[in-house]
């Protein structure tokens, strides 16, 4: 806090570059642009399969980032975000349809996010009345119940067989041999970066402060003039829209919306990513998403390399994944983002100490 006051005090003497960095929007756009460039270079260097992994991370990030706003910033636990991804995925699949003549993909994804946001209003209105374990229970029911609706409407939603869509192919201007997976990585990463900019700004805005105020003390927030329930519903809507977009991007990557994709394990994995990355931190969400994609992959490869019987092999991957999650949480209780912050603080402390010594 002390440093921040100093920064504001020094404002007059700062160079234009640094003043620009202070403008929230410019700063977040810069970050997104730099990250976008890095991702562009990386995706060009990656193999098809790794681009697919990158795309998986990106759509997971979209949902996880939304959840970290809800849980980390606003203090509402949701065990049901897989259900919102499910809504977004089915909306996307229905809007894209079976043919190739559909609305532009960007519009479809936007609509999917909006439709899911409507679902978020309903869930949020219920959630605003619930606290702690009751909220967890209600969202859990949503995660378990919602995907089974597909079974009730076999012709409209395709039952357990799901809905398939034709992949959105890269534009011809990129060349005939441009890999589909890289194109999918680009679409999903762009979606993830847009969500990053929007959420990062939201977190810094008065809405973000309202979210935090309600999380920290509802009574105090109400006394300060905030409409607690409305803030909570808003947080749910924002979070649901992000998950909906994540679901839409999921369909872009897998060309499939089926209830099996949105099992309870998905909702739990999303929450695991939030906690693993660090509650309320967007780049923690990025790290968490990377972790939930890469760790199962690595543990699967590890259990495969041990050449065990296939029954043990299929289950060992899950066990290794679980053990790793527990290990990380023990070593870094504030998540990966927290661990990085801690390292950063240590380095800073060491360097200020050195500076002080030099000055002395």
């Amino acid at each position: 806090m002390a440093t921040r006051t100093a920064v504001v005090g020094d404002k007059e003497r700062r160079r234009p570059m640094e003043r620009a960095r202070q403008a929230t929007l410019v700063r977040h756009l810069t970050v997104a642009l730099v990250a976008g460039l890095v991702l562009y270079v990386v995706s060009n260097a990656l193999s098809a399969f790794d681009n697919l992994q990158l795309a998986t991370m990106a759509y997971s990030f979209t949902a996880v980032a939304g959840l970290t706003v809800l849980t980390g910033l606003n203090g509402q636990v949701s065990l049901g975000h897989g259900a919102f991804m499910c809504i977004g995925a089915y909306a996307t699949a229905k809007l894209l349809g079976e043919g190739t003549d559909h609305l532009p993909l960007a519009l479809v994804l936007l609509l999917a996010a909006l439709i899911t946001a409507v679902g978020g209003v309903l869930a949020g209105a219920a959630a605003a009345r619930l606290r702690g374990p009751y909220l967890a229970g209600a969202t859990l029911a949503l995660a378990v119940g919602l995907p089974t609706i597909a079974d009730r409407f076999p012709t409209f939603l395709g039952a357990s067989n799901g809905l398939t869509v034709i992949p959105s192919t890269p534009p011809a201007s990129l060349g005939a041999t441009f890999p589909l997976e890289r194109w999918q990585a680009w679409i999903t990463c762009l979606g993830a970066l847009i969500v990053y900019v929007l959420l990062a700004n939201l977190m810094r805005s008065r809405y973000g402060r309202a979210f935090r105020a309600v999380r920290d003390d509802e009574v105090a927030a109400e006394l300060a003039g905030l409409h607690v329930a409305r803030v909570q519903v808003l947080a749910f809507v924002v979070s649901a829209a992000c998950a909906g977009l994540g679901g839409g991007l999921f369909v872009v990557v897998t060309q499939l919306a089926a209830p099996g994709a949105f099992a309870l394990t998905l909702s739990v994995a999303l929450l695991a990513a939030v906690v693993l990355g660090g509650l309320g931190s967007l780049w923690g969400a990025a790290l968490g998403s990377a972790a939930i994609v890469l760790i199962p992959q690595w543990s699967d490869d590890l259990s495969k390399s041990l050449s065990l019987s296939s029954n043990v092999q299929a289950n060992l991957a899950l066990a290794v994944y679980g053990a790793l999650l527990i290990g990380v949480m023990l070593a870094a209780p504030r998540g990966l983002a927290g661990a990085f912050d801690w390292v950063h603080q240590q380095v800073r402390r060491a360097s200020t100490r050195r500076e002080e010594e030099e000055q002395a």
């Binding site: 970050v31 067989n161 029954n311």
Partner: protein
């Protein structure tokens, strides 16, 4: 402080992400480019041919079906012990999809893009494999011998790289339907169908022979939802005396147990997919905690395209059983193991005929030439115009827990063609069960 750290922190995050992916990328790259020399196609080196498949090792379809990839692997081990095919050892990579279509998409992409397999072999399931057919054909990966009898594998114009293997469900429906029409004349028939192409194709075949008036009810089930009480109550209420069932083993067992509970004992006529006696006995024991007697499934009718695994006097069966006893003795000797070995044998036969430097196109050409005979009771339909597998089945019944085949094998098409007996003879198995090349 937070302000000044945000930018580097975010860039760091992106870099960490990138590094994480790049690191695993380089691993894979090293693995696949390892055997550059002698490679005529991805997944083929001078010394090895790598294929892969998606199978349910966990989940509702795992009982029984999880043995198939292990049986494929056992046959491959047997081949490798004899020096391989054209000097190349065979390697099978199995990935678990839990019979969940979303996972099928994921693991199949992994097999093709990361493991860089030469071909997908025996990918299991209709709801699962339909989700990856387009991807495999777009990637020009041979998609051989899908473990499902959906008609949808036989679309050479749309899916030139996909081949079926087992008898398709419509042909099977016709053959079972004819039996019902001939032997249960005038009796009320209920259909119990899996709610996807498996059930739909089967019912289409049944409908060609079972008179419409005698079908009293058509019930469906969702794989994954094990509560079939409501459907069974409706079937009992309909007064059906015969149940024609296109179900996977777990649901055949559930039908049998529901019959016990409701004191309702109709004649069961089941697709071979869900009628393997050993698998059913095991499932009945597991579901009823050992209470259900094995005799419950005696009299269940089906039809089958391979020699019965219980007929050890058949030279093919004797050989396949020997491989089972040597490499996977802990697995029961059942229809799934026989299925996996027979399917692997067919692949070895096609690979041997594809010559010294097999290519992806080459193996497709070999299959379309119609020279691959396989170990079945009926021939394959493979040609330029058809990618359908076995073209018929012999009637069968479960007696004392064993599968007994009756009469000559029957063959037909998946249109409105007649059912005719066949004199097809696969001949004697090759020496050591290693198929010879075309030269």
């Amino acid at each position: 402080m937070t302000r000044t750290t945000r930018l580097p922190a975010a860039v760091l995050a992106a870099a960490a992400l990138a590094f994480g992916v790049a690191a695993c990328g380089s691993d894979n790259g090293g693995g696949s480019s390892g055997g550059g020399g002698g490679a005529s196609a991805p997944g083929i080196t001078k010394t090895q041919v790598t294929v892969g498949g998606h199978f349910p090792l966990t989940g509702p379809a795992a009982p029984g079906y999880s043995e198939i990839p292990r049986a494929i692997d056992a046959y491959f081990q047997h081949v490798n012990a004899q020096g391989g095919i054209n000097g190349r050892k065979l390697k099978m990579i199995t990935r678990d999809d839990g019979y969940n279509p979303t996972n099928t998409v994921k693991v199949t992409k992994q097999l093709v893009l990361q493991d860089k397999v030469f071909a997908i072999l025996g990918g299991l399931g209709t709801p699962t494999h339909t989700k990856v057919v387009d991807f495999l054909n777009a990637s020009r990966v041979p998609d051989l011998f899908v473990s499902s009898g959906c008609l949808c594998w036989d679309e050479p114009d749309k899916h030139p790289w996909t081949f079926g293997w087992q008898t398709d469900y419509k042909v099977e429906g016709k053959i079972l339907g004819q039996y019902i029409a001939d032997h249960y004349k005038g009796k009320k028939v209920a259909y119990f169908l899996q709610n996807d192409d498996f059930g739909t194709d089967g019912a289409a075949g049944l409908d060609q022979y079972v008179p419409k008036a005698s079908v009293v009810t058509r019930q469906t089930y969702e794989p994954g939802n094990t509560d079939i009480g409501p459907q069974m109550a409706k079937i009992k209420a309909s007064g059906a005396e015969v149940i024609a069932s296109f179900s996977i083993p777990a649901y055949t067992a559930l039908v049998t147990l529901a019959g016990v509970k409701l004191d309702y004992h109709p004649q069961l006529v089941v697709s071979n997919v869900g009628a393997d006696p050993t698998t059913l006995t095991g499932l009945l024991k597991a579901f009823s905690k050992g209470k259900a007697p094995a005799s419950l499934i005696d009299g269940v009718r089906s039809a089958y395209y391979l020699p019965s695994g219980d007929d050890t006097s058949n030279p093919w069966i004797a050989q396949f059983k020997m491989i089972h006893d040597k490499y996977i003795p802990k697995l029961p000797w059942d229809g799934n193991v026989l299925y996996g070995e027979a399917l692997a044998f067919t692949f070895a036969e096609a690979l041997a005929q594809a010559g010294q430097n097999p290519t992806r196109q080459g193996i497709v050409d070999v299959l379309e030439s119609g020279k691959v005979k396989g170990p079945g009771l009926v021939p394959f339909r493979y040609s330029k115009d058809s990618h359908a597998g076995f073209t018929g089945e012999a009637q069968s019944v479960i007696k004392d827990g064993k599968l007994v085949e009756e009469g000559k094998a029957l063959q037909t098409d998946d249109g409105s063609g007649d059912i005719t007996p066949t004199d097809f003879d696969p001949g004697q198995p090759p020496a050591n069960m290693i198929p010879a090349g075309s030269d």
